[in-house]
Symmetry: C4
Subunit: 257 residues, 4 copies
Amino acid sequence: MDKTFIKMIENVELTEPIFIEALPGLGHVGKLVAEHMIHELGAEKFAELYSPSFPPQVFVGEDGTIEPMKNEFYFLKSQGETERDYIILVGNTQGLSPEGQYEICGKIIDFVSGYGVKEIYTLGGLGTGQAVETPKVFGAATTVELAKMLEDHEVTLRSADGGIIGASGLLLGLGMAKGMNGVCLMGETPGYFIDADASKAVLTVLLEILKIEIDIAKLEERAEETRKMISKAQQMEKEVSERMNIVPGEEDLRYIG
Amino acid sequence: MDKTFIKMIENVELTEPIFIEALPGLGHVGKLVAEHMIHELGAEKFAELYSPSFPPQVFVGEDGTIEPMKNEFYFLKSQGETERDYIILVGNTQGLSPEGQYEICGKIIDFVSGYGVKEIYTLGGLGTGQAVETPKVFGAATTVELAKMLEDHEVTLRSADGGIIGASGLLLGLGMAKGMNGVCLMGETPGYFIDADASKAVLTVLLEILKIEIDIAKLEERAEETRKMISKAQQMEKEVSERMNIVPGEEDLRYIG
Amino acid sequence: MDKTFIKMIENVELTEPIFIEALPGLGHVGKLVAEHMIHELGAEKFAELYSPSFPPQVFVGEDGTIEPMKNEFYFLKSQGETERDYIILVGNTQGLSPEGQYEICGKIIDFVSGYGVKEIYTLGGLGTGQAVETPKVFGAATTVELAKMLEDHEVTLRSADGGIIGASGLLLGLGMAKGMNGVCLMGETPGYFIDADASKAVLTVLLEILKIEIDIAKLEERAEETRKMISKAQQMEKEVSERMNIVPGEEDLRYIG
Amino acid sequence: MDKTFIKMIENVELTEPIFIEALPGLGHVGKLVAEHMIHELGAEKFAELYSPSFPPQVFVGEDGTIEPMKNEFYFLKSQGETERDYIILVGNTQGLSPEGQYEICGKIIDFVSGYGVKEIYTLGGLGTGQAVETPKVFGAATTVELAKMLEDHEVTLRSADGGIIGASGLLLGLGMAKGMNGVCLMGETPGYFIDADASKAVLTVLLEILKIEIDIAKLEERAEETRKMISKAQQMEKEVSERMNIVPGEEDLRYIG
């Protein structure tokens, strides 16, 4: 496996789909939003992406079963007022190297452009490093018009702030080269834990823009489950970081030389 | 040499072989188990794997002779009750980069799948960072059924623990994509030394599952020899780490610029 | 996107163009010089370079709009006494990995050599780590003759100083292999801020060599604007570095495993 | 430039050449030995190797002229008792990444094997981290016979010492796969400076093995010149390391974000 590839699960026909990206990031803000939409609106998975630039590992689920590192494409038929469908991208990781990020995001843009995507929403968290009363939603856009649109929805524009790192930024940048437009929504978060409040803030703005209605209350429950999973994971952190220290080969180098 | 490749040593016919991976890792738990099986059961080497993602170095043996970095495939004719043969993978290193790990493990899965492998056992150590009375054996599996099977053998399931890093995890993840199933067995170890006790615990469970009988006592002797070799290596560690600091080029950069 | 590529914006015919490189570096000395020339002399953009070795991110402008990472080629019709035209290279980043730097600079040299470039000027800053009264201009050249020419212009030759790192050095090195010659001009700078003084010093020497006249005073104003932009960026630094800590995937590794 | 390549300077016919490698490493022990042989015996350069895995920079010489990063192949007609010729490899750097090291060393082995090389000598330093009275020469070999031969020449065999890192080890490892044999000679050195004493020790053993005679005294003078060059370089170190901190792109990330 030396190239990123996409594995089709179901062939679907989509009408001018809107592309929503929510790969894991700070506070899992975007991931939580997308997972909530997927469950509440009954989106279906139709493709998976695998990459040699993902971390060389697997995750282990509650029941002791193994889950490979992957990104997952869900589709959703038209919601709310429009006739347009949706493609939602979630996953358990992003690429590790810069080259990997470009290869993966390039593949993703090519893939969704094949479905006629012209509009992109990328979701993430923005770390303030301190406690947050009521989380703001920060944003950026590919055009001045879309930036204005964000301000109309009480989104604070991020200006000259050193950019947007990872898939949330890169997908918009690469999409522009293919004539796609879009925005990035970032929920203000301390970033130290699964942040349901930041997710709620982002989801509220997103639904308002997309004119979709979902029960947001349930988001808190979902966040709760995730928190349990994570806190458990954190107990394991020390030991895991130890294993990280013995990255294959290096560990050899360390004690054999 | 810019691609991972496998060098055949002997052409063999194998019957529904079971694949056992034990590349170097924490406490050399898996390596010790596999080496013991290879010696006790008289497995024969039939292929070697070389990769540009291995550390750019060679090892030097007791007699001053040079040994390249490589992974080695051994085969073993049917043992115990079943008619099935075995492929055992050992080596002196793993890939350094994530991309390298994926390329190498992908090649390995393609290779063993060519022999009809449907079942994988990956062996390793799990670092607790503290002394261990009687080492537990932790495990994970590709299916709920196999996870249950592990529990029947007193294996503690690892759940939501941040995954399995390196070949032991990746081979199972990539194997799943090819319809293979399997489990990972990890011996609890402080991880600071060659841990024969953890290896014994893992070997006991593995033999029980595979219904094979071997004299486990000899494992302790083998561990002893390895310890001698290692402690010697550790004296050299300081000097080696110095040489590591002068990774080619960097060293140039450091003192010429 | 897994290869560096150049996107043409306008097809131009150029006469024995001189190539001037000023990608971002210490104190933004070169960048400031090139941007000043572009504005004062009315250079036009005719091509853009994109690379998977650029940082996996986008920048966000004052108005909240997104700007992809890229290098930009401007051309300028003959100035001053000569009949020769100019190609000026600026951008918002350089490649991250050594391999990336070589791939990008190789593409750049091939590209400009297609326009008949035989002469290269690369511009940058040289960090002294301490305050500078009146910044010196340091230089190096591909030939002894050009080195002498630099001394005639009061440029201090850098000898045995550990080389020139990044595009400013590599473009000259790769150009030599294609029979191009050139010099590197480095303005002495503490390097802690946008250094208009160092830029002025470099620009003065460059214009003198190229026998071009520009109002240098305006450079200070331009530097002022840039400073505003940067200081704002620096406020954001802490938060950004936090996001850097959660480089995709790693962040996963950190808290899930 | 995205592949390592070799540029021919002169076509030569060589008789069963012996290959001697001395790329930069600890204390520049090997480099000094090879440069001395090249000058004393009048070896001629016939090929150069360039690689995208070299550091992305150029060096600047005493006269302010630029020198690209490269490895250089010299040839030498038969010396002393034998009819056999020599290929000597020197350079100003080695590859930075593991993959790069493998690609470069693989190309080198293919290249010299084209000239019928069957015997390899790699030269380097071995860091003790403390002052050395009379430097020992350590060694390793591809066969037990060659290891014995080294002991006959008072070379101390390195056993289980964690291997030989970089080109000196890798060339022997990759050569073995092509049926070449050889030894690595490492001069004991604190490694903090250009170590002429360690070089003398290695050169003495090498000449003894190859039955060649050279005036060794001159080595001290050559080391002296090199020391001057280096100490000058070291003054520049601080500033250079600063520039290193602003590796292209990263520097962008640091202050723009």
